[in-house]
């Protein structure tokens, strides 16, 4: 505390991750979003062209990706050039982008030797994978 009772300005630089971490995380976000948007854009255009005259009510009633929500289903669909599989891939990339950011955070916290933040980030990562790979498929 300084003489007038206010807290002293904190030592920011001591707790800041290396600049490389910010650059990499920015890159992860931009690449992930760009890739997801490109795949989804291609998928939606292909879907609209392949279904001329279809109504929005029909589309809303029948989710075209239900057959591709497993790894084997997605693999088979992509190999067959299925539009639904392409759209599923775009959605997975979009969901995975912030998860990769967490992985990036884990790498840098471990690199600078911060055990507490490494443990926290690893726990977050495990929980994210739990939702995608265990909880979602289980309650479907």
């Amino acid at each position: 505390m300084n003489p007038d009772g206010a807290p002293v300005s904190p030592p920011i630089e001591a707790h800041r991750l290396p600049d490389e971490a910010y650059v990499r995380m920015t890159l992860v976000l931009r690449l992930g979003l760009g890739l997801a948007i490109a795949v989804l854009l291609g998928g939606i255009v292909a879907y609209v062209l392949a279904h001329p005259g279809q109504s929005s009510e029909n589309v809303l009633a029948h989710n075209p990706i239900l057959n591709y929500l497993s790894v084997p289903g997605l693999g088979t669909g992509l190999a067959a050039g299925s539009i639904g599989a392409v759209l599923t891939l775009g959605l997975i990339v979009l969901v995975a982008t912030p998860i990769v950011r967490v992985v990036s955070g884990l790498y840098y916290f471990r690199k600078v030797g911060e055990r507490a933040m490494t443990a926290i980030t690893l726990t977050v990562l495990v929980l994210l994978m739990l939702g995608l790979l265990v909880i979602g498929p289980f309650i479907r």
Binding site: A6, P7, V23, E57, I65, P98, A116, G131
Partner: protein, 284 residues
């Protein structure tokens, strides 16, 4: 509605939602989910699934700029995600179970109530750009929850350190729960915890909230996607439009004072909240 017109309108609505979402740090889902239900005929869980896509696109589009400009506090964001992610997993699971139990009307009413809850949260401290300093707690000191940035609108360097981490974690769990249930990001609750308990400046709160929203949404979206409630024909145009609007919004944020953004946004939230509650009770 014809599919081509449907897709074009979705993109236009999503651009507006992305713009508003990034300017307020709320993520865009707050606007887009009610609009999908009201004007596009989406069921409640499918609209929520699209809401998650909206949040993911917004957070990634604007998060990149915030991280690059050091406005997002990665350390504080990661620390608080330990509470938001379990909340989101539980919330999304509850939504799927309510849908399976044919209780979508209850989800609608609850969504309206949550939208109403956002309003006082937004009004509470709208005249404060920078908080008065508070002493950090032991956990904040141990984890080094501190940072600083240059505020363009105020024309000064700003430093901060997290204060009360325990209540912040509690609010973050609730924010994750709300986000997971409704696909709305829970940004206002995150900003509330960051401002009121951690005592962070408004712009850092907004940017860090945006940073966290993506990870929280990934938890909820993972559950909803794997459970079959993300329809890409609805979600893909929404994602594309939202990312475009959010990118534009992130360019505007550094030069805008927060009170302007909030005051402009509140009447929209109120109208959508009323509509959700009325629909939930089956009223016109």
């Amino acid at each position: 509605m014809d599919l081509v017109l449907f897709v074009v309108l979705l993109v236009l609505v999503a651009i507006a939602a992305g713009l508003v979402g990034s300017l307020t740090g709320l993520g865009g889902g707050v606007v887009v989910i009610p609009l999908l239900i009201i004007f596009f005929g989406a069921s409640v869980p499918i609209a929520i699934g699209a809401g998650f896509v909206t949040i993911l696109a917004t957070s990634s589009a604007t998060g990149a700029a915030y991280v690059r400009d050091r406005l997002s506090d990665i350390r504080i964001g990661m620390f608080l995600e330990i509470a938001t992610v379990p909340g989101a997993l539980i919330g999304a699971t509850v939504t799927v179970f309510l849908t399976h139990a044919n209780l979508e009307s209850a989800l609608l009413v609850a969504l309206g109530v949550v939208l109403f809850a956002i309003i006082p949260g937004s009004l509470a401290r709208r005249h404060i750009e920078l908080p008065a300093p508070q002493p950090p707690d032991a956990r904040s000191k141990y984890l080094g929850l501190t940072g600083g940035y240059h505020d363009e609108a105020l024309g000064q360097d700003v430093t901060y350190q997290g204060a009360r981490t325990t209540p912040a974690l509690g609010v973050m769990f609730g924010a994750g729960l709300v986000s997971g249930m409704f696909g709305i990001g829970g940004g206002v609750f995150k900003v509330l915890a960051l401002e009121r308990f951690l005592n962070l400046p408004m712009k850092v709160s907004t940017a860090t909230s945006n940073f966290m929203i993506g990870v929280t949404a990934a938890a909820g979206a993972g559950v909803m996607l794997a459970a079959g409630y993300v329809n890409p024909i609805l979600a893909a145009p929404v994602a594309i439009g939202t990312a475009s609007g959010a990118f534009l919004g992130s360019r505007l944020l550094p030069g805008l004072r927060n009170r302007t953004v909030r005051i402009l946004f509140l009447p929209v939230i109120a109208a959508l909240a009323i509509e959700m509650v009325l629909r939930g009770f089956g009223l016109p």
